[in-house]
């Protein structure tokens, strides 16, 4: 009865337009259902209902079914808003019809099915548009429907965004954790590099080879980078915030800092790869070369964050310090820097995290992951004369040795994921500490 009265209350043209799109959506749903049934039966009985498909194609069918369901859900919404005479529904159905048509011609969707659904959509759209032109839309119900539709589809998209990020973390933790052990963290690679280890056999014993030198090298490179970066960045920030008045000169410096933060890492990588060898005669790739390139990357970070932190210190503090007879330098050192420390630390930690995960610089400016850890007592040679293995480069090397085996889920891939897990764990620990420090600071600032 309800359906009958609903239909009576709406114009026939709208009903026809909406139901044409409903029919298209129904077709897609039925095909999706068929795919799911096929997948389930073939998983249970081992043979496919529709045709003899191998296992990877059942996964494909599953994804395809999800795709069909999503498409038909959108089409149902479009049909409903066509019945309610809302213009947006017609546009949505039209766009979908054209896409389906293109997909069926290209053969991405089941072509006779996609073709029929597309024709139905386009008929519905044109009827809806004609009807729309004749009579103004009934505003109230339509806007309520659209409101709900919009809110829910926005929610779905937000969910997709969050899911994709959770997926990344989950995959790394799940695949990597099985290989993590103390000896994986401390052992190195044999002299011949990745070619000499059987990643499955020796990896599963987990103790024959590991990321030890690379981890140490990464920490050394990033530590050296911070040693150079902190005084330089802090000095610039103090100068910009305390000494230089707002002028063309400071604007130029700010502009160059911005420019430097936009330089892609690969440019820094090739710079490090050639500059220090050609101009200074250092080893092709070295600890100090890598660290200097990383300074180029983290310096803008450090300057910007430290400057903001210094500027956020209340003017009253400075005035009080001056009133007590302190000089400018004393004021900066004792009052301003002390209040700005959490902010400066945030910048430092974020810079360290970014430098730690930076692979292009590590590979091209610091060194080959398969190189032995330099053993020399001469500090300058240690800094510039030898290649320094790093963790990102280690992961890339492992990937490289797996490169031609692109199967979906092989055990040897877990080795790369294990090294990635270590990298991500350190990166997240550093970044989260930085954010906690920042939030703590913000709370303190708003409290006073």
């Amino acid at each position: 009865m309800k359906v009958c009265s609903y239909i009576k209350n709406h114009k026939t043209e709208r009903i026809i337009a909406g139901f044409a799109v409903f029919a298209g959506a129904g077709l897609l749903t039925s095909y999706g259902l068929l795919l799911v049934i096929n997948t389930v039966t073939s998983l249970v009985s081992g043979t496919s209902m529709l045709s003899a498909l191998p296992f990877t194609n059942t996964i494909a069918d599953f994804f395809l079914a999800a795709f069909y369901f999503l498409a038909s859900a959108i089409l149902f919404l479009a049909g409903f808003s066509l019945v309610e005479a809302y213009y947006g529904g017609a546009v949505l159905a039209g766009i979908f019809g054209v896409c389906l048509l293109a997909a069926s011609i290209l053969g991405t969707v089941n072509s006779p099915l996609g073709f029929t659904a597309a024709i139905l959509c386009i008929i519905g759209t044109s009827l809806g548009l004609l009807e729309q032109r004749k009579s103004p839309a009934t505003k109230t119900l339509a806007s309520v429907v659209i409101e709900k539709m919009a809110k829910n589809s926005l929610r779905i998209l937000a969910l997709i965004a969050v899911t994709s990020l959770i997926f990344v973390i989950a995959v790394i933790v799940y695949r990597g954790s099985s290989y993590i052990s103390w000896s994986f963290l401390t052992n190195g690679l044999p002299l011949g590099g990745f070619q000499e280890v059987d990643l499955i056999l020796e990896g599963s014993k987990s103790g024959v080879f590991g990321i030890g030198p690379a981890l140490l090298g990464s920490l050394l490179v990033c530590g050296t980078c911070e040693l150079i970066c902190i005084p330089l960045g802090l000095g610039s920030a103090i100068f910009l915030a305390e000494y230089a008045p707002e002028s063309a000169f400071t604007r130029v410096i700010h502009f160059f800092v911005e420019l430097l933060s936009g330089v892609p890492s690969i440019i820094l990588g090739i710079f490090g790869y050639t500059f220090f060898t050609f101009e200074f005669g250092w080893s092709q790739r070295s600890l100090l070369g890598g660290a200097i390139c990383l300074v180029f990357m983290t310096l803008p970070w450090n300057i910007r964050v430290a400057e903001e932190a210094i500027k956020a210190v209340s003017e009253d503090f400075r005035a009080a310090s001056y009133a007590l007879g302190a000089s400018k330098l004393q004021t900066i050192r004792r009052v301003v820097l002390e209040s700005a420390t959490p902010g400066i630390m945030t910048g430092m930690l974020l810079g360290f995290g970014a430098a730690f995960g930076e692979a292009a610089v590590a590979i091209f400016a610091a060194g080959d992951p398969q190189a032995p850890f330099p053993s020399t007592t001469n500090i300058w040679m240690f800094l510039t004369g030898y290649q320094m293995p790093t963790l990102p480069a280690w992961i890339y090397g492992a990937f490289r040795s797996l490169d031609n085996k692109t199967a979906f889920w092989t055990q040897e891939q877990n080795v790369a994921f294990a090294a990635a897990l270590v990298l991500v764990a350190i990166f997240l620990a550093v970044t989260i500490t930085a954010l906690l420090v920042r939030n703590h600071l913000n709370k303190k600032l708003t409290a006073t």
Binding site: I59, S153, F275, T406, A420
Partner: protein, 299 residues
């Protein structure tokens, strides 16, 4: 007196620190120009060329095309998911959800690209193969690069456009809803147009970071020596940044001497082209942001 002198010395030292960033930029760009000017002049005088063999032909058009194709595709994908997410967070969700999602997004926006690279190579490439079958080869192709790049820039897009949306004064929303508009209508017709320049800045910044991204793309795009000029997203390709990476990696594993020098120059020239494009994008964003803050202050 002694105090005054030491203050002057320290001030000078601080000035030197501040000037160092200018020095670094000049060093970088100067070195790039110094190393890569012959091919760039050649490209400007004789056209960018369509062939690249790494020995005597260094055409750039295939790389420029594929870089634009990958960049625009990935940015559109990131915007298509990121902007609605930002609208949801700014206009519809409660503070609890926002306070959870926003910081985690910010944490993840710096996710090391090498990690995203192995996810792309070991998960997304097989999924693309599962979807499109043998047409996609091993799945090392443009569409895989699109997907991983859009996941990488998603937190960035969401964060910046949510900030832009939230910067719209609440009085606008109240006025619109007071006139009887629904939340969605307010978001679509009042808040979005008002936040337009901020969202445009987010789009351009994410495009710039996508163009500069190397590792994740390098591990999943297939590294064809000369990328085909085609719109088929299932073919392997090579963008400028990965072309630089592949060639330098090849050199580091050994190459003949004569080939090395010319190739190195071409690679530096390509780096110069890439840096110019990214620099221009950043400058446009800086101008946009400046205009916006000026508009706010006048209003």
């Amino acid at each position: 007196m002694r105090n005054r002198i030491s203050e002057r010395i320290i001030e000078t030292l601080l000035l030197l620190c501040a000037v160092s960033s200018i020095g670094i930029v000049f060093l970088l760009i100067g070195y790039l120009v110094f190393q890569g000017y012959p091919p760039v002049i050649n490209w400007i005088l004789h056209g960018f060329g369509t062939e690249f063999n790494g020995v005597d032909k260094f055409g750039m058009i295939p790389f420029i095309f594929s870089t634009a194709y990958v960049g625009v595709g990935a940015t559109s994908l990131a915007i298509a998911i990121g902007l609605p997410t930002a609208i949801y967070l700014a206009e519809f969700s409660g503070p609890r959800i926002r306070n959870f999602i926003k910081p985690s997004m910010e944490t993840l926006s710096g996710m090391p690209s090498i990690v995203m690279g192995i996810i792309a190579a070991f998960y997304i490439a097989p999924i693309v193969v599962a979807f499109f079958g043998t047409a996609a080869g091993y799945g090392y192709c443009v569409s895989t690069a699109w997907i991983i790049l859009s996941i990488m820039t998603l937190p960035f897009v969401v964060s910046i456009s949510e900030d832009a949306l939230r910067a719209v004064p609440n009085s606008y929303r109240e006025a619109s809803q007071g006139l009887g508009a629904t939340k969605w209508q307010t978001a679509l017709h009042v808040v979005l147009p008002e936040a337009k320049s901020g969202i445009l800045a987010a789009v351009l910044l994410s495009l710039a970071s996508i163009l500069g991204e190397t590792m994740a793309v390098w591990m999943c795009i297939g590294s064809i020596q000369t990328p085909p000029i085609t719109l088929n997203p299932l073919l392997g390709s090579q963008v400028i940044s990965t072309m630089i990476a592949s060639n330098i990696y090849g050199l580091s594993e050994g190459g003949t001497a004569g080939q090395t020098h010319a190739l190195l120059q071409a690679v530096y020239g390509a780096g110069l082209v890439l840096l110019t494009v990214i620099g221009l994008l950043n400058i446009v964003v800086a101008i946009l942001v400046k205009n916006r803050s000026r508009g706010r202050n006048n209003a």
